[in-house]
Symmetry: C2
DNA sequence: ATTTAATAGATAAAAATTTATCGATATGTC
DNA sequence: GACATATCGATAAATTTTTATCTATTAAAT
């Protein structure tokens, strides 16, 4: 009993990171009029182990899958929605309207996944006051009042590395509880504040090392 | 013996992803004139477990760390360099010179980590022929000859989702062996070709779910 | 020279994550 | 309606990754 509880209540981080993939593919199926989808099919398309997919879906699905056919597409989308909180948009601010900041600010794809960046901040006075696809850019001084008035809890950092910690501190002071960090520096935050680092060099490292290994392997054969 | 062999020869993917972090922080220390660094110090600054750091460093370091002081900064940088292949730049092409493509193409930071994007491709004829900070943008038709002539093995995909698979196929046909995929679709590749997905929605999913959990927890207390 | 404290390194334990296996069950077919 | 088959769900095994513990070593302080 206790074992089952822990395994069913605790959510694997890795599961979470796969849910958007499922969601995206299942959405596509739905738009094509497909009614059911099996874990095997999902696994094939996403290059995953079928059992892994089944376990993930078991976590989020409100109803059991039907043997032989799989899961109802519509229901599954609703369930993933609920599970991830996609249906209630989370509002966020973004600081640093440089190239990366602009992508995030203007890319409507994130809205589909529950993130609504309401405004961008930048210290450059020439940017402030402008709009990018309807998103206002404000000076840093306005952060505190806006965050508190709108009760925003997510902050996105897309400033140069050497300014990231300062911006982070300011965010925390304003009451931000979760930070999505695109700067390549580790952030110090007090207990209770979450940080997710988006780390391009790390990804690159994994890829290029694997490539080197695979080439070494081939040349030996 | 066999146990030790497997653990010392097989590199953990998670280790690889942390090496750039170490490298970056240690570089900073070096520029400040620091001579030695301990795993404990590294762990503190990067919010990691000291033992974890020690194990990682044991993998890459050519010399043992000195008790009481740690590792020599300069030597460690050289070792990580060697280990990751940072010192021999790997050349890459990039397809899709949109907003994300431009960031990668023009951001010199990646060169520091061993990636040299030599040219960008785009199907937009108005972009072709232009340069971005010295990087040429070429039409898609030139991909094959260039990749083969320069023996390039890394391809970066920054095109819209619905074109990613087609571009991927073309890359593979040209001889690309490792693909860094920024489109939010899984890519089908033949055996022997590596893919690393850069997946912003997945990261976001983890963060926002953790936030929801942490808030639920607080409100219960 | 002796003591002290901080650290590496090795080994073991724990936790997290992925993969394999097996009986049960519903679906489609004959 | 009986049968074959593909899938699910659950349990167990394997693998990967992280954390804990203990001893030996060495630089610094006394």
């Amino acid at each position: 009993m206790s074992k089952q509880n822990t395994s069913s209540l605790v959510v694997m981080k890795s599961t979470l990171s796969r849910l958007p993939l499922y969601y995206s593919y299942i959405s596509k199926l739905e738009s094509e009029g497909v009614e059911s989808v099996s874990s095997v099919l999902l696994a094939e398309h996403l290059n995953l182990n079928p059992v892994l997919v089944r376990k993930d879906l078991a976590q989020v699905s409100s109803v059991a899958g039907y043997p032989r056919t799989g899961f109802k597409v519509k229901q599954l989308l609703v369930d993933i929605d609920n599970y991830m909180g996609y249906n209630k948009l989370d509002e966020a601010i973004l600081v640093g309207v440089g190239s990366m900041g602009r992508i995030l600010l203007t890319n409507s794809k994130f809205a589909k996944f529950g993130l609504n960046i309401v405004v961008g901040f930048d210290k450059d006075p020439y940017l402030c006051g402008l709009q990018l696809e309807g998103k206002h850019i404000l000076p840093m001084e306005k952060m505190e009042s806006l965050v508190q008035r709108m009760r925003i809890r997510i902050g996105i950092i897309t400033v140069p590395d050497d300014q990231a910690q300062r911006v982070c501190d300011q965010m925390v002071k304003c009451g931000i509880k979760a930070i999505w960090n695109f700067a390549f520096v580790p952030l110090k935050v007090p207990e209770g504040v979450l940080v997710k680092n988006e780390n391009l060099p790390s990804s690159l490292a994994v890829l290029s090392h694997q490539l080197a290994k695979s080439i070494a392997l081939q040349s030996k054969q």
